[in-house]
């Protein structure tokens, strides 16, 4: 089961309503067979832009951010997402898959990037197996053609007979 982070942004609610909204969200996750690892609060924060609460259409400038860390199947993700987004107390809900595997160590290639193109390996590789356009190919052919056409097929004056 993939690991998801369910971020829930509620509309501005009183404390008791907030508890109700969160338990509802958690229960919908559990009903669809999710395994909740952790519930985190990211605090009461300013939203990056103004949102409108559903039905009441009251503007929301700041609200509570929550994150559920849960394992669930892909079908459960789809269903719970549609349920949670249509909840009247949420402003924004998104489920984001997080890689549980340890990330591979990054090979920093900044040094390579800062080299001049003549010294860069990527450019050398490009040169190695170059793709030629039709026009370039034709020009090269014509140049070589000129060379072998300049060799006379027969002597202008016949060579002396043996």
């Amino acid at each position: 089961m993939p690991f998801y982070e369910v971020s829930v942004i509620t509309r501005s609610l009183s404390k008791s309503d907030l508890v109700k909204a969160l338990t509802r969200a958690g229960n919908t996750l559990l009903d669809h067979g999710a395994v909740i690892e952790k519930v985190e609060s990211l605090g009461h924060r300013d939203l990056p832009y103004k949102r409108l609460a559903k039905q009441t259409n009251e503007p929301v400038y700041a609200s509570n951010f929550f994150i559920f860390k849960a394992h669930m199947s892909r079908e459960a993700r789809q269903k719970t997402k549609s349920i949670l987004t249509h909840d009247l107390d949420t402003v924004q809900v998104d489920l984001i898959q997080v890689d549980t595997l340890p990330s591979q160590k990054i090979q920093c290639n900044l040094d390579e990037i800062l080299k001049s193109p003549a010294e860069r390996q990527a450019v050398a590789d490009l040169r190695e197996n170059q793709k030629m356009g039709h026009f370039t190919r034709q020009m090269i052919y014509k140049r070589t053609e000129k060379e072998w056409k300049s060799i006379p097929k027969s002597y202008p004056i016949a060579p002396p007979r043996p």
Partner: protein, 140 residues
């Protein structure tokens, strides 16, 4: 000068063993080279080579996270609200790819404004100067 040269030639003719000629036959007869402590030491790699330069995130070991919207917005233009390209940010290819993905996630989740940089963070310390890019633009 001439005189000294002639005397040297005479000496050589008289006692040829005393002078060693630099010829190939003589070199081949010389005993094989014996390793001693006084011989110059050969190093495998140059100790004066510079360490390869690393990008900001690789050298500090900071992981980009979509929840850390403030860090992500340091890579976003104050003027246009768009992510700066790698020739300005000075990140390696992998980190730039990660940055773009993290910003996309953060915007989708709603932690980050989409069209602008949050004016709260406009005065955050500058990580790079967009007017002095590290490299010329790739399309130029």
């Amino acid at each position: 000068m001439l005189k000294s040269a002639s005397t040297l030639a005479r000496k050589v003719l008289i006692t040829p063993q005393a002078y060693r000629w630099c010829s190939s036959s003589k070199v081949s007869q010389a005993p094989p080279v014996v390793c001693s402590e006084d011989e110059p030491v050969k190093l495998e790699n140059n100790p004066y080579t510079k360490e390869p330069r690393k990008c900001l995130l690789c050298s500090t070991g900071i992981e980009l996270d979509y929840k850390n919207a403030r860090l992500l917005q340091q890579f976003v233009s104050t003027f246009s609200g768009r992510v700066y390209d790698r020739h300005i940010t000075g990140l390696c290819d992998e980190q730039q790819k990660k940055l773009i993905k993290a910003i996309a996630k953060s915007r989708r989740v709603g932690f980050m404004p989409i069209f602008v940089k949050d004016p709260k963070y406009a005065r955050d310390p500058k990580l790079f100067d967009p007017l002095k890019p590290l490299r010329p633009h790739s399309f130029a």
